[in-house]
């Protein structure tokens, strides 16, 4: 079963002078459950735009998109937020942890939106997610008390905690040194494999791309 099915996705922006700049020109992409895919391409090729569309951060203008078995092309902003909360996890390049919240509270964040869970269930999920990235003992630490690698592992735990169908990662190792990047990537891959979570990674790094089941390249607004 495909967790992501994109068909003819187009996206563009209007420039001054009523000129339209097409960024994506009919992207076709299908990613199966548990599969890991790397999206590569030159800077400005539209990788991040594609990730924003797949992550329901941007409404789909042209084409159709189905995530976790539901056609999400015409969802309202609210329903996109709820679907995102339930089925999509994000790992950002710059970790993007809320700095005044502890690691525990950061991981708990997605559970506090959308469908409510009892606090015991939340605690169980958060502890399990922190366990899976090896940071249970750092649950009380604030982001500033964690190293870059640890912060990214907390971000991975946050992406995993809802048990999403897909995790979208944007240059997840871009801000880390080689050794730390390797550890973080391994953690991400292992966690996704264990949970049969689909993983889509946007990256410039050939080594990261090689670690995925499949690599697709974005050129001239289309996947090659």
């Amino acid at each position: 079963m495909n967790v992501i099915e994109a068909d003819g996705l187009c996206h563009g922006v209007w420039l001054p002078g009523r000129q339209r700049l097409d960024i994506l020109r009919g992207v076709e992409l299908a990613v199966a459950e548990g599969e890991s895919v790397a999206i590569t391409g030159r800077s400005g090729s539209g990788k991040t735009t594609l990730l924003a569309l797949l992550g329901l951060l941007t409404p789909v203008g042209e084409g159709t998109l189905a995530i976790a078995g539901r056609n999400v092309t015409n969802l309202s902003d609210r329903n996109r937020a709820l679907w995102r909360n339930e089925h999509i996890g994000f790992v950002f390049q710059s970790y993007s942890l809320v700095r005044h919240l502890s690691a525990y509270r950061n991981v708990e964040l997605p559970l506090r939106y959308g469908e409510g869970l009892h606090y015991r269930q939340r605690a169980q999920r958060v502890e399990s997610a922190l366990d899976s990235v090896g940071l249970r003992d750092r649950a009380r630490s604030k982001p500033r008390q964690l190293s870059g690698g640890e912060q990214q592992r907390v971000a991975i735990a946050r992406a995993l905690v809802r048990h999403p169908a897909v995790i979208l990662a944007d240059e997840p190792t871009g801000a880390l040194d080689v050794d730390t990047a390797s550890t973080v990537l391994r953690t991400l891959r292992t966690a996704c494999r264990e949970r049969r979570t689909t993983l889509v990674v946007v990256t410039h790094d050939p080594q990261v791309a090689q670690g995925m089941d499949r690599v697709v390249r974005l050129m001239d607004g289309r996947l090659a």
Binding site: L57, R84, R105, L109, G116
Partner: protein, 396 residues
């Protein structure tokens, strides 16, 4: 909702200084409303108190009484005839102003020393309830002192003659010798010249002709009664005293006129209060917008992990409301302390000014206005936050 409240509380904990400064700004705004209102009340009270000292409380009506030689029993009957006025919180008094040159002197002065001029009022009934005449020391005149004439001094008279316990010789009629009277109290009547108030019933027993050459006025105070009813009572009082009303009963106090005059002053005070609150609201708006700018990343990350726009708006508004409520509670507490304990200590007890008490209406207005200002100052940042482009979560 519970989760939104949780986020709001975590927001307050995360930015305690910002929350404290916003709260302080609002509290100052609410307190400004209360303080300005109290200032307005006290300013009005200064004028009203002075007017009520001189002319009577709202509403007081007066008429001249034309009396001949009046017997003490007739005066007593006249005072009895005022009883219906007391129903519903009214009071009545008879005030006589001798037309002769009244005088006073000390008993120990050598025989033959002429008495010096002293302004005097002869009073019967409840003048202290008709006019605002607080007793600063001693007591008010006894209703029926057995023979002895009692006196009240205003503050200027105290400086001239002495206070409670001072014994004076008084000339109240032209052709009879002076009588001896003793001071029993000091009152604040607002007058700058020495004035002595003597007990008319006691004086009448010693000098039955005292009212013959005297202008006598009947004063009736009642907060609600109509002039027709009061005129009927005044006529019965005049008859009981063996005389008649000379002219109509007319409004004697100036409070209605003063309140009308003070309307524009109150309006000006309200405008100042509104400006104070608007400044507080703009402060909140400024802090709110600056905070959104500073927290853009956090807010888009929250949206990315599933927060709806409503949740973001709710989180920011609830945090603002919590700050507003805490500020309002602080403002109420300070307003109560100020109005109950501090303001009374600032008012000279030698005046007729009564401390205004806790201005609950102003407090309620302050709290409501604070909440409204909080919402007004937070709603724009909340909407701005909800409209942030969530796709920027992927870009630094």
């Amino acid at each position: 909702m519970r989760h939104i409240a949780g986020h709001a509380l975590s927001e307050l904990r995360a930015h305690p200084w910002r929350a404290a400064l916003s709260g302080l700004s609002l509290m100052v705004g609410a307190l400004a409303i209360v303080a300005i209102n109290m200032l307005s009340l006290i300013t009005a009270e200064v004028f009203i108190a002075a007017a009520e000292q001189q002319d009577g409380r709202a509403a007081t009506f007066g008429a001249r009484l034309q009396l001949g030689v009046t017997q003490p029993d007739q005066l007593r009957a006249a005072l009895l005839a005022t009883t219906p006025v007391t129903v519903g919180g009214g009071a009545a008094a008879i005030v006589a102003e001798p037309s002769i040159r009244t005088g006073a002197g000390r008993p120990e002065d050598p025989i033959g020393t002429p008495l010096s001029f002293q302004e005097m009022r002869l009073i019967a009934g409840e003048l202290s309830r008709v006019k605002r005449l607080p007793v600063l020391q001693g007591r008010w005149l006894a209703e029926d002192s057995a023979g002895a004439v009692e006196l009240l001094f205003n503050q200027a008279a105290v400086r001239r003659w002495g206070g409670v316990g001072t014994v004076l010789r008084l000339k109240v009629t032209n052709d009879q010798p002076a009588i001896t009277a003793a001071g029993v109290g000091i009152i604040a009547d607002g007058g700058g010249d020495p004035r002595i108030y003597a007990s008319l019933p006691a004086l009448l027993r010693l000098r039955p002709a005292v009212l013959a050459d005297t202008e006598v006025r009947l004063l009736i105070h009642h907060p609600t009664a109509d002039i027709g009813t009061l005129t009927g009572i005044a006529n019965r009082v005049a008859l009981a005293a063996g005389g008649r009303l000379d002219g109509n009963l007319v409004r004697a106090d100036q409070t209605a006129y003063l309140l009308e005059q003070l309307k524009s002053q109150r309006l000006a005070f309200s405008a100042v209060a509104a400006v104070a609150l608007a400044i507080a609201a703009l402060g909140i708006l400024n802090i709110g917008l600056a905070s959104i700018g500073e927290r853009t990343r956090e807010l888009v990350v929250r949206r990315a992990v599933g927060a709806t726009r409503t949740a973001i708006v709710g989180q920011i508004l609830l945090a603002a409301i919590a700050v507003g409520l805490i500020s309002a509670a602080g403002a109420i507490g300070l307003a109560i302390v100020g109005a109950q304990w501090w303001v009374p200590t600032q008012i000279d007890p030698a005046t007729a000014i009564e401390p205004p008490g806790v201005p609950w209406f102003a407090v309620a207005t302050g709290v409501l206005a604070t909440t409204a200002a909080t919402l007004a100052g937070s709603i724009i940042p909340a909407v701005v936050a909800a409209r942030l482009d969530v796709a920027t979560a992927l870009r630094d």
